[in-house]
Every structure is written in structure tokens, then in C-alpha cells.
């Protein structure tokens, strides 16, 4: 490195004297998008919203206190879910439901996300869709131009005046549970398919982050929310309660007659190009095999129901539901599994692939936000309760919830889901020795894409059969064992198919 060359390159910096004798500073290059998101978080947490606690905690806890009350503190930086989850939603262009009582900052945090995405405050205020019982599809999406309705000879000639909010990067639907059912269906198409259609005209909503709010998602709205719409929501966050130290900030706001949305600094605003770049960087964050396995170990168990069928493949809760029965009907003393140990008893349903994808995507965003090179178990642990908050229903009749110390989980769903994850981690550690042979066989199967020769296939088939026998003989048929049995059975089917193909058998 030559000093003179280096100095010359520095002198081409962003401070320039213009011909009119004014000094101009070009915008500063962003040091890194993840750092910019962290700055945005810090600014919101420090200047815009008062979050009394940071409930997304990382690293091993240090538990203080005793039987009367415990407090866990952590040695790594913690974050407030009420601020970070909206930011992760913006980063991933997903769909967030913000729930909480009136005046708790639901619309404010959503508006802040819109401002970070580059819209002006006026634009956002005009674009917020306020749910109310008279909201029509035309109110929501737009309407055909009246003159063309009269003059057009065919529907394709009718131009539609689409509402502007549809193409905005951040979409805010306030009090979505007050929207009439028919209009909810139109909203569902937009959220699910990414476009709306009217008079054979189509409008695409592009890559966008959705923020929906509800005062009470458990039936307090004017209309019940259709299940398909609920299912499209990727993650949920709760408003934080008011906390006395936040009062000072509110007093200051009253004195200054300003709200936090009015002054988002320009250096925190993301361009579309930056948001797209962040999206690409986030998707590239790797998810290690161990993290995938930890997640699979838990989610596999939740769907399992031993009493749903005698056949291995159908031993899941969907079988029960399709027959019009509920887990509570069969999860009783007739099922030999210990209800205080096995996790399958705790839930009424399993988790869809869509929820799994949302969790993985958000975990990648969280790892990226934290500056981690790959997704860690902590990232998944922190996000899982918020992604499954509205998707996983407890089986309230389970013996697990009859125990006094577990009844609190029926009111505190986040802690319930944390507990599920923690127990699953413990169980996985205890079950690992029994899985050793299964994992070996899976690894062997994944080692190459080439079909092994017939002799090798026959050997593998024999080993898979022995592993199946061994698992069944040495373990009770519970969620984790069931997942491995399904895995091995699938492996067996695959090898058999390969063997048949090599033998030229018709398929």
C-alpha cells in the first residue's frame, strides 16, 4: 500500500466544494444493510416507542430468585419482540399480525415500518386500510371508472382505478377482524396470490410486508376471521403493556406536540433496492442440519397421534379431524403414552409446511440481524412462539393442562410454546442414542445421488428393516419414534423402488 496513492483516493471523498462556493457532502455509503437494520431497531427502541421489556433473549440464562418468583437474565443482547418482529417482517416481506388493546402502539409501529420503507407519513396515513363492518371490496381494492362502465363493449375495456395502497411496499390493515367476511376473501386473494382481479383487470401487489392489527384476535372483532386468511399470517406479536418509566417520554411528546412517526431520520430509510438486497442476503443465511433436526424433532411430534389410526402413515391429527373428532376425544387413559412427558398430547393440531417455511425465513432474518453467520437454535427458539402463536391450538383436555403448575400455559401462549421447545430439546438429547442407527442410514442414503448397485441396495434394505425392528422393539411408539419409523419406511420404499427399476420391473 502506497501512502501517496492512498491519500489521493481519500481526497476523492464525499466532501466537495461546488462552483458556487458551498460545501456539499454526498450521502454516506451504508456500512452494511444488517447494521442499518440494527440502527433502525436502536432508534425505534430509544427514540420512538417505549418497550418496557426485551423478551427475545439469547444465550444461557442466569436465573435469579427462588420459589416466590424467578427472574432470568441473559448475558447476550436481548430485543423487544414488539419492535424487532415488525422489523423482521419488513426485512422478509412477510405478514405480521399485531394484537393488543387500543392505544398500545399497534398502528404506530406499523406506520414506522412504512416510513422505514420510504413512504411519507401522509402516504401511509392515506394508505392504511381501516377495517369496519361496511368495508366493501371496492373500498378495499378500487372500482371501475364509471364512464367506461357505460361505454365499454367488453369487460377487458373497463379500466379499474386500483387503490394506491395495493402497490405500496408496506401494507397496513387496521383492525382486520372488523372487515366483513366477503371483503376478507378479497383480502385473502391479495395476500395469498399477490394480485387482485376485477373486470378481467389484474393488479399485482409486488414484494411487500403486511401489517395487520387486531384489538383482540380471539373473537373480539365484528366478524370472525376466515381460517384461510388467518393461515396466511406468518407471525404474531403482542403489544407491550404500559410501564411507568415510559410516562416521561409521553409527557415530552405532549409538550412537543409531536408523535414518533413524524421524525424518522433519513439515514434509516431503506430504498426498494436495499430491501431487495437485504432479502437476498437473508435468504442466503445457512440453516445448519442440527437446527433443522431440532425443529423437525419438535414439529414432527406435534402432528402425531397414536390413537388416530392403527396404520403408521395415518397416525396424525389430521386423520382425527377429518373424521370429525378432536384430540381430546382420544387422548385419554386408553392411550398408553405418558401425558406429562409426550408433547403430542399438548396440541390439538400440527404445523403446516407454510408455518415451517415462515419460521425458517424469519429465523434467517433474525440471525442476519444479529450478525450471525448462520441460523442458531436460539434464533428458532425465540421466534417459534410468535410464528406458532395463532397456528398451534392447545388440547385443553390434555392431562398435561390439568396439572396446577401447567394451567398457566393456557393463558400465556408464548410461555407454553417456549416450554414445548425446551422439553423437545431435552427429549431430543435423551433420544439421540436410540436414533444413532437411523441417522447413519439417512446419512448413507444422502451421500450420493447415484443409485447403488443391486447388491448394495439389498444390503441397505436389510439394514433398514433391522433398524425398524429395533426401534419398535426397544421404544414405545411415541412422536419421535413415529417420525423415525416414517423416515425409515420412506427410505425402505425408495430403495425398493430403485431395486425394482434396476430389475426392469414396471412401475
Amino acid at each position: 500500500m502506497n501512502a501517496e496513492t492512498l491519500l489521493q483516493s481519500w481526497l476523492q471523498g464525499r466532501a466537495v466544494v461546488e462552483p458556487d462556493q458551498t460545501l456539499r457532502l454526498a450521502p454516506r455509503a451504508v456500512p452494511g444493510l444488517a447494521e442499518k437494520f440494527r440502527r433502525a431497531y436502536r432508534w425505534i427502541a430509544g427514540q420512538a416507542l417505549h418497550a418496557p421489556y426485551r423478551d427475545l433473549e439469547f444465550g444461557p440464562p442466569v436465573v435469579l430468585g427462588g420459589s416466590e418468583g424467578k427472574v432470568a437474565v441473559h448475558r447476550e443482547t436481548s430485543y423487544a419482540s414488539f419492535i424487532l418482529l415488525p422489523l423482521l417482517t419488513l426485512m422478509t416481506s412477510r405478514r405480521l399480525l399485531i394484537i393488543g388493546g387500543p392505544g398500545r402502539g399497534k398502528t404506530t409501529i406499523a406506520t414506522l415500518m412504512g416510513l422505514l420503507a420510504g413512504s411519507s407519513l401522509d402516504e401511509i396515513r392515506h394508505a392504511i386500510q381501516h377495517g369496519h363492518p361496511q368495508l366493501t371490496i371496492a373500498d378495499l381494492l378500487g372500482s371501475p371508472l364509471p364512464s367506461e362502465l357505460i361505454q365499454a363493449r367488453e369487460t377487458t375495456a373497463i379500466r379499474v382505478a386500483w387503490r394506491r395502497w395495493i402497490s405500496m411496499r408496506v401494507k397496513i390493515i387496521d383492525e382486520y377482524n372488523r372487515i366483513p367476511t366477503k371483503t376478507q376473501s378479497a383480502l385473502l386473494s391479495l395476500m395469498a396470490e399477490g394480485y387482485a382481479e376485477m373486470y378481467e383487470q389484474i393488479v399485482h401487489c409486488g414484494n411487500s410486508a403486511w401489517f395487520l392489527t387486531a384489538n383482540d384476535d380471539a373473537g373480539g372483532g365484528t366478524f370472525p376471521v376466515i381460517e384461510a386468511l388467518k393461515d396466511r399470517i406468518d407471525v404474531v406479536v403482542r403489544c407491550t403493556p404500559f410501564h411507568a418509566p415510559g410516562l416521561d417520554a409521553l409527557v415530552e411528546r405532549i409538550a412537543a406536540s409531536r408523535s414518533p412517526e413524524e421524525f424518522v431520520p433519513a439515514d434509516l430509510v431503506f430504498s426498494d433496492v436495499e430491501l431487495e438486497a437485504a432479502d437476498r442476503e437473508i435468504r442466503a443465511v445457512p440453516v445448519p442440519a442440527e437446527v433443522r433436526d431440532v425443529l423437525g424433532f419438535l414439529l414432527g411430534q406435534l402432528d402425531f397421534c397414536r390413537r388416530a389410526s392403527d396404520r403408521l402413515d395415518y397416525q396424525n391429527k389430521d386423520t382425527l379431524h377429518l373424521a370429525g373428532r378432536r384430540v381430546g376425544h382420544v387422548c385419554n387413559e386408553d392411550c398408553p403414552l405418558d401425558k406429562h412427558v409426550n408433547l403430542c398430547t399438548q396440541t390439538e393440531n400440527g404445523v403446516s409446511a407454510r408455518a415451517y417455511q415462515a419460521l425458517i425465513h424469519l429465523a434467517k432474518a433474525l440471525a442476519y440481524f444479529r450478525g450471525q453467520p448462520e441460523v442458531g437454535i436460539d434464533d428458532v427458539r425465540c421466534l417459534l412462539p410468535w410464528v406458532l402463536h395463532e397456528k398451534l391450538q392447545p388440547n385443553v383436555l390434555s392431562a398435561f393442562f390439568q396439572k396446577l403448575e401447567n394451567q398457566v400455559y393456557l393463558t400465556d401462549r408464548v410461555s407454553w410454546l417456549h416450554q414445548l421447545f425446551a422439553r423437545s430439546l431435552e427429549q431430543r438429547a435423551g433420544y439421540q442414542p436410540a436414533r444413532a442407527e437411523v441417522l447413519k442410514l439417512v446419512k448413507e442414503a444422502g451421500a450420493t445421488r447415484d443409485t447403488p448397485p443391486p447388491a448394495e441396495l439389498r444390503k441397505r434394505l436389510e439394514r433398514v428393516r433391522r433398524a425398524l425392528e429395533s426401534l419398535l422393539r426397544k421404544n414405545e411408539l411415541n412422536g419421535p419414534v413415529h417420525a423415525d419409523l416414517v423416515l425409515l419406511k420412506g427410505l425402505h420404499d425408495r430403495y425398493q423402488e430403485q431395486l425394482d427399476t434396476l430389475a426392469g420391473a414396471p412401475r
Partner: protein, 289 residues
């Protein structure tokens, strides 16, 4: 000029708040009451039509530096005084307010832009470089000399050092870490650049000291540094053995006064062997041709 600052400062501050998430209004007020007043007064002693534009440009630079987080609050470490500032901070808060008026009026805006660009370049460069330059800022007394000053200071540190022949004779210099940081006890050492050493405090792993290695017994302590990674040196060094009060470098030997038990030894291919002792705050810098 009277009233210009009072008029400009609130406008610049409002812009700062609009633009920057890290905006610190109290600190900006402090700067407009301190360095900005010094500059305004110095300029006012030489009335010129460019003075208002100069002051405006200076306030803009303060705003940008504050918003970008370049101007830190001075932190004291074990009551030893402030940690060394960056070159940009030195330029904005000391050099410009005290010496810009010396420059001809038509050259002042260019001088401001130059200080900014050089300072920001240093901030964005390798971590050692800004700290290293900051250790010499007392030698810079004119805004217009900034470029030549940096060339003079950075040149030797950036020039690739010819591997020493280690033919001797050996010469020794002893540096004391205490004036830079009283409780400093030299621990692990790395070369951050061919002639810049970064030493960790054995008792406080977050505290590091920078040392400049210079021939002719001119090595010196640069002050507290951030943690720096080691740079690679590929030339093989001589065999070095250190015993009680004596250092053997290849075929050559030299007495190390007061070294009881050596703690760490580092060899730089430019011809230096740096020794620390288990029970001392000093550093023994042995150099060869």
C-alpha cells in the same frame, strides 16, 4: 459574523435531526458553544466575504460527523484521561477552530473538504491507521499541511519493510507503558502493520496499547488502541532465545537490563525483537540492521 452562528446552528441542528438516527442535540449544542465559537471568533478577526460560507460549511461538517457517530464523547479509562481521538475529530474540534483562519480565505473551503475527506478515509481504513496517525497529531499545526503531514507519518508505516539482515549490531530501547495507561501490564503482542505493534493488557483483555517500531531507537508508544488483528509476515525470522537479562538473536546477543522472566517475545521482519517481562510494565525493543 455576530449572530450568524446563532442563526445557522438551529437550522443545521434541525437538518441533523431529520437526517440522522444517531443525532445528539446536547452534543451539537456543546460543539456550537465550543469549537464553532472559536472558529467564528478567529474568522471575525479577519473580516472577509467568505467567512459566513466557511462557518456554514464547518457546521455542516460537524452535523455530518455527529450524525455519522464520528465524534465520540471522550471516555476516560481508569482516570487516565481521554482515549485518543480520530484524526477527523482532531481536525474538526482542534485544528480547524484554531488554525483555519491562518489559511487564505479563498482556500478555506477546500481545506475543510480536504480535512473531511482525509479524516473519513482514515476512519474507513484499517483500524490501526487512524489511531496511529492520531498519535502524531501534535506535530500538525496548519490545516493546509494536513496532506503532507499524513504523507510524512503514514509513509514509513505503509512502505513494505525490507527484511532485516540480522547481522547486527543490536541496539536496545526500553519503553514504559505507564505514561499511556498506568496499570498496563504487557500481554499478548501482534503486529498490526509491519511497524505497528498491538499489545493486550494481561489484566484487562479489552485494553490494548499501540507501539510504533522505528529504527534508531525512535520506537514509541502510540497510546491506547482498539483490538487489532495480526498482519502476515512471510519472511522467516532469526532464531530468538531469551533468558534472564540476555537475548540471543541468531549469532548475536545483547543484555536486557532488568528482564527477570521474559513473558512474550515478538519478532518483526523489519529488524525488531520486542520482549516483555513477567513482572514489568516495560517493553524492550531490540533492533538490528
Amino acid at each position: 459574523m455576530i449572530g450568524v452562528l446563532e442563526e445557522l446552528a438551529p437550522q443545521i441542528a434541525a437538518e441533523g435531526k431529520r437526517l440522522h438516527a444517531q443525532w445528539d442535540q446536547a452534543r451539537f449544542d456543546e460543539l456550537t458553544r465550543g469549537p464553532a465559537v472559536s472558529l467564528r471568533d478567529a474568522l471575525a478577526r479577519q473580516p472577509d466575504s467568505t467567512n459566513a460560507a466557511t462557518l456554514t460549511a464547518y457546521l455542516k461538517l460537524l452535523r455530518e460527523a455527529l450524525g455519522a457517530g464520528y465524534l465520540k464523547h471522550h471516555q476516560t479509562l481508569n482516570s487516565d484521561g481521554p482515549i485518543r481521538s480520530s484524526f477527523l475529530e482532531f481536525g474538526l474540534l482542534h485544528l480547524i477552530p484554531e488554525f483555519l483562519h491562518v489559511e487564505p480565505p479563498h482556500a478555506r473551503l477546500d481545506a475543510l473538504a480536504k480535512i473531511w475527506n482525509l479524516g473519513e478515509g482514515l476512519l474507513n481504513g484499517p483500524a490501526w491507521m487512524d489511531r496511529y496517525v492520531s498519535a502524531f497529531t501534535s506535530e500538525l499545526g496548519r490545516v493546509g499541511d494536513a496532506e503532507s503531514f499524513l504523507l510524512r507519518v503514514l509513509g514509513p508505516a505503509l512502505s513494505p519493510s525490507e527484511p532485516a539482515s540480522w547481522e547486527g549490531p543490536l541496539q536496545i530501547a526500553v519503553l514504559d507503558a505507564r505514561p499511556a495507561h498506568d496499570p498496563f501490564l504487557p500481554g499478548d503482542m501482534v503486529l498490526a502493520a509491519p511497524s505497528v505493534l498491538c499489545i493486550r493488557d494481561r489484566r484487562a483483555p479489552d485494553v490494548h496499547l499501540g507501539v510504533l517500531l522505528r529504527k534508531g531507537g525512535q520506537s514509541r508508544i502510540l497510546g491506547l488502541f482498539p483490538h487489532l488483528d495480526a498482519c502476515d509476515e512471510d519472511a522467516p525470522g532469526p532464531s530468538v532465545q531469551c533468558g534472564e537479562k540476555r537475548l540471543q538473536v541468531g549469532e548475536l546477543a545483547i543484555d536486557l537490563p532488568h528482564v527477570g522472566h521474559p513473558h512474550r517475545i515478538l519478532t518483526a521482519q523489519a529488524g525488531f525483537v520486542v520482549v516483555s517481562a513477567a513482572d514489568s510494565q516495560r517493553l524492550w525493543i531490540v533492533e538490528s540492521t
